[in-house]
């Protein structure tokens, strides 16, 4: 578009519309660099002092055919001057880098929301590929929205024409031009991104310069052009955030640091064995860099070998950790049974994704709770924890290490594709504030046998190869309670099975009572959640409590065993609603354990809950 530079427009906050929060969604082709753009916008927003939450949403294909709807890659961010708990329901602004992005994402834009579209990518061929018969930017179909249509492709080419880049390379700066434009819209500082570009393209200063030039040009155009009626700059005040040193963190990063923090606190080596799978691989990547922190990573030949190597490492006195997503966890099942049977510490991380089978690898779901709690042959109890948000992964991982070592048991950590990829600001903790995790390797041969137990925890001794006088043999065959030798004795098997159950059940005494996140400890309705539904549930409950509804939010970290008081707590409510991104799993475990009339609210679209969906379900139960 040519209507630029009519007048200087105000940049100071007083001239902008102040909003409490905003939701922006960047959408483009897989090759348009939307994740990277969103990541930079996230950092700039964090530096501006807003609270935030992000939702990267991308296809499984690395490079789907350009311009197709299934190749659309999106990044959503919700930021504000208040506490932000979700990536937001409907968005205020949609950046559509091509017709496919517009087609896929338009439904999520608020009425009256802003669309920023690159007209340079709305040619006849592009429109046809996205399934448009006519150009939506011109045919009036976008009435009801505020459209900012710019030839971003052309403007980018102009901005970088002096840098000597090829046309292809120059066009790749489109995302930075757009980012510059959006930076102006929300009054964001460009410098951190400029610094980042210069560092990233250290070996290609021409590329770095072009990207910075494109970003600056986009910013200038936004600042100087006459924006359509109803479109203007916004200001979002800094949020009231607790003092501290912050960084943005994704769930995968926080989990990696949390696991390493756990073994650091236990002062033992971590052997992390894994096989690449979406969306779990990021954990392997993050931990692979921590070689200087007593972390050895092993990319095994398959999922089974990864689980087995982790168990072998735990037998050897390290903490074995393995990680995967549902289908990979299924393959590890037999090995996990051996870790239960030989009572070795182990952590299994499941970054859940939509299934069954391959399902939708890049889309999120919470449908592996049954698999974690129940999904093994025979009576084979273990401990299951779930993280509620990216930052929460850190503490959950440390708790998993503590329980695995103290109780000599495998521990499942459930996270999901959404938590793994989403980012939020994190008040970085001081590792010295965490309690050490004691590790008591047996060294005394006196009275030793490999299934000696701690009277209190029922955990067996950890006696590692290399220790003189403690040579012993363990395996998957049932062992005698009093000697650890192979035993087929009927009474002994009953006793060992009972003991394995009692050991895991006993963990309930060693975890905090279940609290209430928001609301009263009894009343009309408790909304019980676990995992990544935390954000939408807490916002929905807070909204409706503000309107006077008697609703409380309970969110579980300990999925198995449950906290000791959970049954009594739930019985204090007339109704229990359990929103889950599955067809109903936690709800049935709660019903089975406590005989409470819990009801499910279930969503399996591969997308997180919207706040409104949970609000509607609560209203339906309370406003009769």
């Amino acid at each position: 578009m040519s209507n630029t530079a009519l007048a200087e427009k105000p940049t100071d906050p007083s001239q902008r519309e102040t909003v409490e929060s905003a939701v922006v969604r960047f959408a483009g082709d897989s090759g348009d660099g939307m994740q990277l753009t969103g990541g930079q916008f996230t950092l700039a927003t964090a530096f501006a002092g807003n609270d935030l939450s992000t939702f990267p949403d991308f296809p499984a294909e690395i490079r789907a055919p350009a311009g197709t709807t299934f190749g659309v890659s999106s990044f959503q961010i919700n930021f504000g001057s208040r506490v932000i708990k979700t990536a937001g329901d409907a968005f205020d602004m949609l950046i559509a880098m091509n017709p496919a992005a517009l087609k896929v994402e338009l439904g999520g834009l608020k009425q009256g929301g802003v669309i920023i579209a690159d007209t340079g990518s709305f040619g006849e061929r592009d429109l046809r590929k996205a399934g448009y018969d006519s150009n939506p930017l011109e045919d009036g179909s976008l009435q009801g929205y505020h459209l900012v249509a710019l030839d971003i492709s052309k403007l980018t080419m102009e901005a970088v024409k002096d840098t000597g880049l090829s046309k292809q390379e120059a066009l790749r700066c489109k995302n930075m031009w757009t980012l510059g434009f959006v930076y102006w819209m929300y009054g964001r500082d460009r410098k951190p991104t400029a610094d980042w570009l210069i560092a990233k393209f250290g070996k290609r200063p021409d590329v770095a310069a072009a990207n910075v030039a494109a970003m600056d040009a986009g910013h200038t155009v936004a600042e100087t052009m006459e924006l359509p009626d109803g479109v203007h700059g916004f200001h979002v005040d800094a949020a009231d955030i607790a003092p501290g040193t912050y960084r943005t963190v994704t769930g995968a990063e926080a989990l990696a640091w949390g696991l390493a923090a756990g073994t650091h606190l236990a002062d033992i080596k971590m052997v992390f064995a894994s096989y690449p799978i979406t969306p779990a691989s990021q954990l392997l990547h993050s931990l692979s860099k921590m070689i200087d922190h007593n972390v050895v990573t092993f990319q095994a030949e398959d999922e089974i070998a990864a689980a087995c190597a982790a168990i072998g490492a735990s037998f050897g006195g390290s903490l074995g950790v393995t990680s995967s997503s549902g289908p990979g966890i299924a393959l590890k099942t037999e090995a996990i049974g051996l870790a239960i049977s030989t009572e070795l510490p182990m952590i299994i991380v499941n970054s859940q994704r939509a299934g069954p089978s391959t399902g939708m690898p890049t889309k999120t779901e919470q449908s592996d709770l049954y698999q974690a709690v129940l999904g093994r042959n025979a009576d084979s109890p273990l401990c299951v924890l779930a993280a509620r948000s990216p930052a929460d992964c850190f503490d959950v991982a440390i708790e998993a290490v503590r329980i695995a070592i103290k109780y000599m048991t495998p521990v499942f950590v459930l996270t999901d594709g959404y938590i793994g990829n989403a980012a939020e600001p994190w008040n970085i903790p001081d590792i010295n504030d965490y309690a050490k995790i004691p590790v008591n390797f047996r060294t005394d041969p006196e009275g030793f046998h490999p299934f000696l137990r701690d009277d209190d925890t029922l955990a067996r001794v950890w006696a590692v190869p290399g220790t003189p006088g403690l040579e012993h043999r363990i395996g998957g065959i049932e062992r005698d309670y009093d000697s650890g030798n192979i035993s087929y004795d009927p009474g002994n098997h009953q006793k060992m099975t009972d003991t394995r159950f009692a050991k895991i059940a006993g963990i309930a005494k060693d975890i905090p009572d279940q609290g209430v996140e928001d609301g009263n400890t009894s009343g009309k309705l408790a909304v019980v959640g676990w995992g990544s539904t935390y954000g939408p549930i807490s916002r929905a409950v807070a909204n409706l409590r503000a309107q006077g509804l008697d609703v409380s939010h309970i969110h579980l970290r300990h999925i198995w065993p449950f906290p000791e008081n959970l049954g009594d707590l739930l019985k204090g409510f007339e109704q229990v609603l359990v929103p889950e991104m599955n067809h109903g799993q936690l709800v049935n475990v709660l019903r089975a354990e406590y005989l409470v009339p819990a009801e499910g609210l279930n969503k399996v679209s591969g997308q997180p809950f919207k706040i409104i969906e949970i609000e509607d379900a609560i209203r339906a139960r309370l406003e009769t």
Binding site: A46, F47, G49, P192, I241, A242, P243, G244, T245, Y246, R247, T248, A260, A261, H264, K269, V271, A273, I291, D292, H293, V296, F298, A300, E301, D302, I304, A305, C308, A309, I311, G312, A313, S314, F315, G316, G317, S318, G320, E334, G337, L338, I428, P429, D430, I431, V464, P465, G466, T467, L470, E471, H472, R473, I474, G475, G476, I477, N485, I486
Partner: protein, 340 residues
């Protein structure tokens, strides 16, 4: 004066546990157990530092009978457990005990990767060409036509050759022995132990109950001399009752052939000299089958290379700072900001 007390010399008996051995009477595993316990004593193995790891099957019961550390794991996966164990503690001396079903059927993938990685341990494959513990079904090494409960009309599929598989997977030590040959087996096991990296040893083991006599075609008293060749590095590849037979490389067909010294103008100089560092020779030897060729026994191949665990140890060492790194620094690396 300081007197250094030499470590007490252990005997084979010191490596026997108090557990009742539960293999069938006459099973070849008894002989192998004896051979291994003798080897452990011979090489001065320290029980506290030695670990036997196994999967599932008759052979996999082995760890329960050796007084060291032992881990009886799940079917086919022993190589993976052993790899993890070695990563946890590279100083351990690990033996993996497996059978033809465990190693080449359900665990074929793991064995392949163990060998290509060259993890420092000894891998013993007890090959009896049958599934014992599940009561007699044919195995991946069973010869075509093997009648078993699952193949009443004879097995159809081609058998795998363990040694050929190992060489193909990149093994750097491949040897063979026979359960009953107690004079030979401990020496092979000692060589396997001395080798740094994965030492693959195939042991022909007779299953008395389900496959008795399957190796008689080369282990029988009447045929052994003509159907076995004990290979030794640097020595001519001769065999036969009086060492009159030998292996000659036919340079036209690039194949080995059996010749008789003194017949058809063949002299000792025509006999191929075994070079255990030569993979081509090892491969040719591994492929030999009776009755046209003898079965090659002893160390077929030994060409040491860096082991995976050594490489990991080196990498870790090169990245380990002199002082324990500050975990708080790790959490604060990269972009951070402060809120007052």
């Amino acid at each position: 004066m300081n007197v250094v007390t030499p470590p007490e010399k252990l005997t084979p008996k010191d490596f026997a546990t108090d557990q009742e051995v539960r293999w069938c009477p006459g099973c070849g595993d008894y002989a192998i157990l004896k051979g291994v316990q003798k080897t452990l004593a011979d090489i001065g193995a320290r029980p506290e530092n030695t670990v036997f790891v196994s999967g599932i099957g008759c052979a996999a019961r082995f760890p329960y009978y050796v007084k060291t550390y032992g881990f009886h794991t799940i079917h086919g996966r022993a190589p993976a457990f052993a790899t993890g164990l070695k990563l946890a503690n590279p100083d351990l001396d690990i033996w993996v005990v497996s059978g033809d079903g465990d190693a080449l059927s359900i665990g074929g993938n793991h064995l392949f990767h163990l060998l290509r990685r060259n993890v420092d341990l000894q891998f013993l494959l007890f090959n009896n060409e049958i599934y014992g513990l599940t009561k007699g079904q044919y195995s991946p090494t069973s010869r075509q036509g093997t009648r078993s409960p699952s193949t009443p009309w004879g097995s159809l599929d081609n058998p795998a050759s363990a040694a050929v598989f190992a060489l193909g997977a990149g093994a750097r030590f491949v040897a063979r022995g026979i359960d009953s040959n107690q004079k030979h087996l401990p020496g092979v096991l000692a060589r396997a132990h001395a080798h740094k990296g994965t030492s693959f040893v195939e042991i022909f083991q007779n299953c008395k109950v389900y496959n008795d006599g399957v190796f008689e075609n080369f282990t029988g008293r009447d045929v052994a001399a003509d159907q076995q060749i004990y290979v030794e590095h640097g020595k001519p590849l001769t065999f036969g009752k009086d060492g009159e037979k030998g292996l000659r490389l036919n340079t036209q067909t690039l194949a080995l052939e059996t010749v008789v010294i003194g017949e058809n103008g063949v002299t000792e100089a025509d006999i191929l000299v075994h070079d255990e560092t030569n993979k081509m020779i090892a491969t040719l030897l591994a492929h030999m089958d009776p009755p046209t060729m003898p079965v090659a026994l002893g160390v077929l191949y030994c060409a040491p290379g860096q082991s995976y665990d050594d490489e990991v140890t080196d990498l870790v060492r090169s990245h380990t700072p002199a002082e324990k790194p500050d975990f708080n620094k790790l959490l604060r690396a990269g972009r951070t900001w402060t809120v007052d």
